[in-house]
């Protein structure tokens, strides 16, 4: 769990950094108000929307490939 959290924090920092550096419009030296506002919204989307979806997807994939299968006969 700790590793997953560390990975997610790293992912958020990496994603926002990439968004900030990929565009020359966002790295202009004059004014950065709109760029920071947009980065804030991107951060909110990543933190509150994308991370729960990724954790759900991770849980689904983990459940699909786990070897702990219990047949109906074993259960009874």
């Amino acid at each position: 769990m700790k590793k997953i959290m560390l990975f997610l924090v790293f992912f958020v920092v990496y994603a926002t950094t990439v968004i900030a550096t990929v565009s020359p419009a966002l790295t202009a030296s004059s004014g950065m108000g709109l760029a920071y506002c947009f980065l804030g919204i991107c951060g909110l989307i990543i933190f509150f929307q994308l991370i729960p979806v990724l954790s759900v997807a991770y849980g689904i994939i983990r459940a699909l490939f786990s070897k702990k299968e219990q047949t109906y006969e074993e259960h009874n």
């Binding site: 419009a25 004059s30 004014g31 991107c42 909110l44 979806v53």
Partner: protein
């Protein structure tokens, strides 16, 4: 008594849900009204210097795709797992933000429909989730 309190809470939530949806429709109408106007040139020169350049359209498109994918997945998961409906204005804020940034970038006329459709889908999923969750809780209360 418990059933009556539950009815009042349900009515309150129902009103909030309708208000949320109406606000989204109003935001859509407002965005449609200023669709052909570039919002960046309405801002005064001094504010424009402070605010800087608007974000490029392709970055807003990427953010919109990520938002749509994650929001729809979250809503479908919460419907599938019978989670309790939690009321919030998040989706309205995100849609308004996208309209705002598209307007500043001068691309609202092209990208109005995708944002409106995604917002409508998310709000409809919200309504479905709310209706299903109130049905579950009412049935549980009546059984108890």
């Amino acid at each position: 008594m418990e059933l009556f309190e539950h009815y009042l809470a349900k009515k309150n939530k129902h009103m909030k849900n309708i208000i949320n949806f109406l606000l989204f429709v109003i935001v859509c109408f407002a965005a449609h009204f200023i669709m052909n106007v570039n919002g960046f040139f309405i801002i005064p020169e001094i504010a424009r210097v402070i605010l800087g350049c608007p974000p490029p359209v392709y970055l807003i498109n990427i953010a919109l795709v990520v938002y749509a994918f994650s929001a729809i997945t979250i809503k479908l998961c919460s419907i599938a797992y019978h989670k309790e409906f939690v009321y919030d204005f998040n989706d309205l804020g995100y849609c308004s933000g996208f309209f705002f940034f598209y307007s500043l970038s001068g691309a609202l006329a092209i990208n109005f429909m995708p944002v409106a459709i995604i917002g409508l889908i998310v709000h409809l999923l919200n309504l479905i989730h709310y209706t299903l969750s109130t049905n579950y809780t009412t049935t549980e209360l009546i059984i108890d």
